[in-house]
Amino acid sequence: MRHFDRSTRQTLGVVFSVTAMAFAVCSSPCIASSHSPAAGSSHVTGITAPLNPQPLIAPKALQVSIEVLGVAIPFTAFGIIHRLETVPGVTNVKFDLPTGKATLTFAPNVKVTDSMLRDAVRDASYTPGNIVWLRSRIVTAPPPREAQESGSSPDKSQTAN
């Protein structure tokens, strides 16, 4: 095995740390490419801030399916249903015991993140699995009058089914 001297080890350590931090930043969901206006994906992994500088207008109710691992009997399903009902903006929770999937419906104009859902599941003493946003409809505001007169059109790529 080759042995490195002290200065070499220090240099390698700095390089490794910087590389790890850069990797962590680039893989952060906050700046994931799927949130890009140009992506037009029907699945978003969470809405932490308006995707567009223009304000959102009356988005339709959101619905998300989250897999909950560890629920096996109705008695324990009670705890996870109650816990998911405490997530801000939740209007309805349905739980399917054979698949372990909870379907949450949110009120309009609600900002909710994947981490909020995962924390609620862990709080209930279970393990969160996959999160799939089933329905979201984000409609951007009409462009300002000046933009319309100049011929520019609103960005429609954020509208998703």
């Binding site: 897999e67 560890g70 096996a72 009997i73 816990r83």
Partner: protein, 335 residues
């Protein structure tokens, strides 16, 4: 401060409210409980034994989810009534009625493996037995035998390991541990070593494809294995807490003197004399049926002794009956 008040309040509630039991019917489980949830179980039971022994318990258990992996368990017998027929000095029946001691048992889940519709949990349980129960009754024949009293009269500890596996169709639980009783007023109950198992199998609905069934029905089979060491009492206390010293064997002879097989045994015997009619080994099977809803459960269980060895002339179990009801409440207060 709020959590401290809650623990004290739960202790008071458990002391004066019927007890409830955990997921298996005769011992606690490592089953998940959400942070902020409170499970309340009430379990009245009746036990019949030889020598006219009859015992009625109304055990209550409160389980509070402090966090996702820490729960507090409070257990208490309220009330407990027991009676037994004794031969000396004349044939008579002694009885005792009152609340039992409170068990405060924090439970920590240190390992879990979850899947879709399954969970495996391993928890450590360790706590104290709080001597609030009745333990110093008397009758026309002198002090009531301590074995009949609801309370131990001394602080104790209870430690154990619990394993729980739940699937959509069945549940398996295992519980093993140790109970140590302190000495009080010249009397000390013997240490207990126990190993309990529970197997539950869903029979209704036979299958379901979606949603959450409103009610599930399970067949239950539990086993309880208990080794109870002899109690000890001090002759210096000047009282016969059980009929040991005046109890005659079946042959009409006085019980033999205690033996000290090791130096440590001899040291334990100084000042404390083993109660020769206490302690023994018990293995019993508990078949039953259980109904489970979204936030409630009801069960009925029979306790059938399969093997029992008692020391001296102590009573033996004939049979027992348990009824269990539990309910889940939800609060927002947790860590």
């Amino acid at each position: 401060m709020f959590l401290l008040c809650l623990v004290i309040l739960l202790s008071l509630i458990a002391a004066y409210a019927p007890e409830l039991n955990a997921a298996p019917l005769t011992f606690p489980a490592a089953a998940p409980i959400s942070a902020g949830d409170i499970t309340y179980r009430q379990q009245p039971g009746f036990t019949s034994g030889t020598q006219g022994h009859k015992q009625f318990d109304a055990e209550s258990v409160l389980v509070y989810g402090l966090s996702h992996n820490v729960a507090f368990i409070l257990e208490n017998n309220l009330p407990q009534y027991a009676e037994q027929t004794y031969q000396t000095p004349t044939v008579h029946t002694e009885s005792a009625l009152g609340p039992g001691d409170i068990s405060f048992l924090p439970r920590y889940t240190f390992w879990e493996k979850d899947g879709i519709g399954t969970t495996n949990r391993l928890s450590a349980l360790g706590g104290v037995l709080i001597p609030v129960g009745v333990h110093s009754g008397s009758s026309a024949y002198g002090p009531v035998p301590r074995s009949l009293e609801p309370g131990a009269g001394a602080w104790g500890t209870k430690d154990g390991l619990i394993f729980t596996r739940q699937t959509l169709d069945a549940e398996v639980d295992g519980y093993g541990g140790f109970v140590h009783h302190g000495a009080s007023n010249g009397y000390q109950f013997g240490n207990e070593y126990f190993a309990d198992d529970s197997l539950q199998r869903r029979i209704r609905p036979k299958t379901f494809s979606q949603g959450v069934p409103k009610v599930e029905t399970y067949l239950v089979l539990e086993t309880n294995f208990l080794v109870n060491e002899r109690d000890k009492e001090s002759p210096l206390a000047g009282r016969l807490s059980t009929p040991a010293a005046s109890f005659l064997t079946d042959q009409g002879a006085l019980p033999p003197a205690p033996e000290a097989s090791t130096l440590s045994d001899a040291a334990d015997l100084i000042g404390m004399t083993p109660n020769l009619t206490s302690g023994g080994t018990l293995l019993q099977f508990d078949p039953g049926i259980r109904f489970v809803g979204l936030n409630w459960g009801f069960a009925a269980l029979a306790e059938v002794p399969a093997f029992e060895s008692v020391n001296g002339g102590g009573f033996k179990h004939n049979y027992g009956i348990l009824l269990v009801y539990r309910h889940v409440f939800y609060t927002k207060h947790h860590l």
